[in-house]
């Protein structure tokens, strides 16, 4: 078994404190028949080795588009990156050639998708699909690749891996399939894993198992993890910090527990209130009023203002900056930012 210390060609060591991946002011839009949809409007976030960043948001908030842009698997056209940088180990991936980016994909940055059944090729055995990583990136023979595939399946705790290596995706249960996706992402021990709603398609009991496995392996290999989700429950246990996205912007970032305890943005507050809780049995579930904005015509000012209970005229005209959040005494709270004109009222009010 290979271990972290034997890890081949992982590149130069990063200076302490340097983020593994840094997204700077990223703008992505889609050209559609009805106009230009601005999917990502100036996103900034970073992940360090061993750190877990959860990106939270509804469908259409731009969280998946950001991830696909990092990965280089965005459909272009219709998508296009209009500005920004994606620095991986200090190098801007958007300036790299296709071939350079391909070599990073799977080897340095790997991705786990939501629906493992449709994300795995239905006509190829899981052993083949896992082994492909070693064959393409390391030139392994079919036999070596298969042996490594079995080893990987063992590592993600698929029972009787050696017997199941030639099975096809449809012969596995949902949880087992997602384990295979995880195994595939882990294959070459990447520096960073992007998991796009890895547990959404799974039963609740299986969700926890898969999440635990992912967190455990991440710690073992000291990988950075970007966890994209709309499920607040999934995030709480595993994430170090959270970025909440709305209409293509980050509206709040915070260390995970602080965000849960004291949200500094009305949208985050609404999300937290809408989690069903056992002690509120019998009461109506809270829902944020209105619908997520149409990306073709995002409201002026703060994109959330039509749905916000405390919106003022300022919110309807001026896009809020991502303010540094401070406590009641004015001391800055590390890692906490809110894109709300009224963050003070939201946080302390």
């Amino acid at each position: 078994m290979t271990t972290v210390t034997e890890k081949a060609d992982s590149g130069e060591r990063l200076a302490p404190g340097t983020p593994l991946l840094e997204v700077r002011d990223l703008h992505v839009e889609f050209v559609t028949r009805d106009g230009i949809a601005k999917a990502v409007n100036g996103v900034n976030y970073s992940v360090a080795a061993g750190e877990t960043l959860a990106v939270l948001g509804e469908s259409g908030s731009g969280k998946s588009v950001t991830a696909q842009t990092i990965m280089g698997i965005l459909d272009m056209p219709p998508g296009r990156v209009t500005s920004g940088e994606i620095l991986f180990r200090g190098q801007d991936m958007l300036k790299m050639s296709n071939e350079e980016r391909r070599k990073i994909r799977g080897r340095k940055i790997a991705m786990i998708f939501q629906d493992a059944l449709s994300s795995l090729n239905p006509v190829l055995s899981v052993g083949y699909q896992l082994g492909e990583m070693f064959r393409v990136h390391q030139g392994a023979s079919r036999k070596e690749a298969k042996a490594k595939a079995i080893e990987l399946m063992d590592r993600v705790r698929i029972p009787a891996a050696a017997q199941r290596v030639n099975d096809y995706p449809h012969q596995f249960s949902g949880g087992m399939r997602q384990r295979i996706m995880i195994a595939m992402a882990l294959a070459l021990e990447p520096d960073l894993i992007i998991a796009d709603e890895p547990t959404t398609a799974l039963d609740v009991t299986v969700q926890a198992q898969v999440m635990d496995l992912l967190a455990e392996l991440q710690a073992e290999y000291n990988m950075g993890l970007i966890l994209i989700t709309h499920d607040l429950g999934v995030v709480a246990d595993v994430a170090d910090k959270i970025a909440v996205m709305y209409a293509g912007r980050i509206v709040e970032t915070a260390p995970v527990h602080e965000l849960y305890a004291s949200p500094a943005h009305p949208y985050t507050k609404g999300l937290l209130r809408s989690i069903p809780r056992l002690d509120q049995k019998g009461q109506d579930l809270y829902a944020i009023k209105g619908l997520p904005p149409n990306l073709l015509k995002v409201p002026a000012g703060c994109a959330f203002n039509p749905r916000c209970d405390i919106a003022t005229d300022l919110c309807r005209t001026e896009i809020p900056a991502l303010h540094q959040v401070a406590d009641k005494d004015g001391a800055e709270l590390a890692g906490r930012r809110s894109a709300c004109h009224l963050w003070k009222e939201t946080l302390h009010g």
Binding site: M71, I73, D75, R102, K103, I104, R105, G106, R107, A110, M111, F113, D115, S118, S119, L120, N121, P122, V123, L124, S125, E132, M133, V136, H137, Y168, H170, M184
Partner: protein, 308 residues
């Protein structure tokens, strides 16, 4: 797998009996009297006609004739023509020609059709794709005889690359032009089917996964995209092989190819029941074999299709 093949082979028996019965019955219902036709316009003694009918067994009820025919068929005896030639000889002479012609057309269909469809699908909406859609639509709308004459005019009369008609029906080189004409319609369908399938599958999640794995483009297309996209194409190809064998009548006529179509055409003209039935029996067998191969290929291409 073995059980599946056996079951499929057993299923072929009723299909085989049914089709042979139908064709025998239909030939029997054909207007005209083959025995009387032997004399053309000349007057014949009715007693002589009756005795020939009796000798040939044609005075018996049709179902008895059918049973006799099937009995002989299972012993490998396809009967004789009115000119007292063995039908089996007629078949063995014509069949190899048509098999060559059909296989050649089949190869054109697969190689050209899939290649064109693949590139059109990958360049969806670009000029190559649009050109393919127009060209295939044209091929689909032009009747085969017209296309045959166009090809004859261009390649034989104008360019003088080939002779207008086939001189030696067993010569592969001479069969190229007829095979192109024969395969053109199916080629257009294969190209369109492949294109549609590629366009659909290229947006599939597993293709995105393959790209995210860092596979080179040719592997993404060759291993992941093409194989999944071939499933509907294989269905069409399987049924088409049979159609090519039987459907060569027009093409063989245009290019004077001495194959099954040609022989069948003459047999129908002369009201040769045994010959018609014999050829149909062979074509049915070819068709059944082709569909069995397709079903087996499915399983190779797509493991989700169980032989249950």
């Amino acid at each position: 797998m073995g059980r599946f093949v056996i079951r499929r082979l057993l299923q072929m028996i009723p299909v085989f009996l049914g089709t042979t019965f139908l064709i025998f019955f239909m030939v029997h219902m054909l207007p005209g009297d083959p025995v009387r036709a032997m004399w053309g316009d000349k007057a014949v003694d009715p007693a002589q006609l009756a005795s020939i009918r009796h000798n040939l067994g044609l005075d018996k009820p049709w179902y008895e004739q059918y049973l006799t025919y099937m009995g002989h068929l299972f012993q490998g005896d396809f009967g004789t023509t009115m000119g007292n030639r063995k039908v089996l000889d007629v078949i063995t002479e014509a069949l190899p020609v048509t098999v060559r012609l059909a296989l050649l057309a089949f190869v054109f269909e697969i190689v050209l059709g899939v290649t064109i469809g693949l590139f059109a699908g990958l360049r969806r909406g670009k000029s190559f794709d649009k050109g393919t859609l127009i060209l295939t639509l044209l091929l689909i709308s032009i009747p085969v005889p017209v296309l045959g004459f166009i090809f004859q005019t261009v390649f034989a009369t104008q360019l003088r690359w080939v002779t207008p008609t086939v001189q030696d029906s067993m010569n592969i080189g001479q069969l190229v032009l007829p095979a192109l004409v024969l395969g053109s319609l199916s080629l257009a369908y294969v190209a369109r089917l492949t294109r549609t399938s590629i366009v659909e599958n290229i947006r599939a999640d597993y293709i995105r996964t393959a790209v995210a794995k860092g596979l080179p483009r040719r592997k993404v297309i060759g291993t992941h995209l093409l194989r999944n996209s071939m499933i509907p194409v294989v269905t069409f190809l399987g049924t088409d092989l049979g159609a090519l064998m039987g459907g060569a009548i027009v093409t063989e006529g245009i290019f004077n190819v001495k194959g099954v179509g040609n022989a069948l055409y003459h047999a129908i003209n002369l009201n040769e029941g045994a010959t018609i039935s014999g050829f149909v029996v062979v074509l049915v067998l070819v068709y059944l074999a082709a569909s069995l191969i397709v079903d087996l290929l499915y399983a190779v291409l797509d493991p989700r299709i169980r032989y249950a």
